[in-house]
Symmetry: C2
Subunit: 221 residues, 2 copies
Amino acid sequence: MALKLYSFWRSIATYRVRIALNLKGIVPDEIVDVDLLKGKQREDAFREVNPQMVIPALIDGDGPVMFQSMAILEYLEETHPQPPLLPRDAKGRARVRGLCQIAISDAHPMSVPRVRNYLTNELKLDPPTLLKWIRHWQQEALRAYEAHLTNGSGTARYCHGDTITLADACLAGQVVGSGFFDIDVKAYPACARIYDACMQNEAFAKAHPLKQPGAPEKISH
Amino acid sequence: MALKLYSFWRSIATYRVRIALNLKGIVPDEIVDVDLLKGKQREDAFREVNPQMVIPALIDGDGPVMFQSMAILEYLEETHPQPPLLPRDAKGRARVRGLCQIAISDAHPMSVPRVRNYLTNELKLDPPTLLKWIRHWQQEALRAYEAHLTNGSGTARYCHGDTITLADACLAGQVVGSGFFDIDVKAYPACARIYDACMQNEAFAKAHPLKQPGAPEKISH
C-alpha cells in the first residue's frame, strides 16, 4: 500500500513526522512538496487534500487523508509498533504525550504562517515586534520543557527513559524551530543535552529541515 | 486510588476532560479549583503541581502529575476503556485524534489567558481588536471542523460514527468556547447538529463550564 506524505522542508510539524518515519524505517513512496512560503497550502490542489490548509498530511493506501502531526504520530505508532515510541505504562505514556503537546499545542501554533500573516497584515506588527512575539512563545515552551525535564520523574538519556519516544521528536522540533529565530538551546541545559543525544541518531539528523529538498543552506527569518 | 483534578469552570481544556470523566463514569475524589481569572495558576502552590502553569492537571493515586488535556484524555481511555471514546480501526482513530487537535492545537491556544495578556500588555491591543483576534481564530477552527465534518468520511450522528468519541468532547469545547465570544455555531451546520446531539447527553451537559462551581450565570468577555 502506497504511503504519500505532504511535506515542506521548513514545516516543524512535518519534521516530527519525518523523525518517526525514519525511526520506524518507513520510507514514503511519494513525498509531495507543499511550499508554505509561496502559500501553496492555500491553493485548490492542496485544499482538496486538507481543507484546513496545513501540513503534514498523510495518505496510507486508499486513504482517507490523515491530518495533524500528533494524530499521524499515533497512527504510525499503532500501525508500525517497532521500535515503540511510547512507553508501555499508561502514566509514562501520559507524560510523553503531555511533553509532545507543549510543542504541538502551546508553542508551535503561535508562529505558523497563518498567525504570522495575521500579526503582520491585520495587527500591523513591524518585523522586530513580530520576531519578539515568536521568540517569546518559543522561549516559554523551552522553559516549560526545561521545568518538566528537570523536575519530572522519568527523564534520563532522553525525555522519558533511555529510549527515544515521541516526546524527543517533538522536543527536537521545538529546538530546531526555536533555532530558526536565533534562540540558543544552551540556555536550557536539559533540553540541550537531550537534543544533542537525539541528533547523534541518524533518524533525527537526516530528517532535519535544512537537509530536505528545497531547503536553503542557512535559515533566514 | 484517589483521583485529583485541577480545574476551573471557564477552562475549555478542563471541560474536555470533565466530559470524558462523565462519559466513563469516573468521579474524581477531589477537585481543586485554580482560578485562572485571578492568576492562581501562576502562584507557587500550583507551579509545584505544573510548572507550565496551565490546567487541567490530573493526579491518579501516587502520581506523578499528568498535564495537557489530550494526554489526559488518552490516559483515561487507556485506563478506563469503557465506553470506548476512540474507534477500533487505526485510520478512524487518526481521524478522531486529528479532529481533536484542531481545537486543542490550532484554535484554543490563541485565546488562553497568557496569550490574551501578551496581546493586551505587550502589543497594547484595545478590547475590540483583542476580541476580533479571538473571534478570528475561533471561526477558523469552526470552519476547519465544518469542512472536515462535511467532506470527510466517517461523520454520522457524531463526529465519527454513531457513538461519541474524543472528537465530540473537543468539538463541544470548541463550540462552547466560541460561544463565550458571541460566535453562533448555527453558521456551521454540521458542527451545530453534532453539538446539539452531544448536549442531549448528560455527560456533556453537566460538564458545561457554566454548570461548574464558581461560574457566573452568564459569560462576559
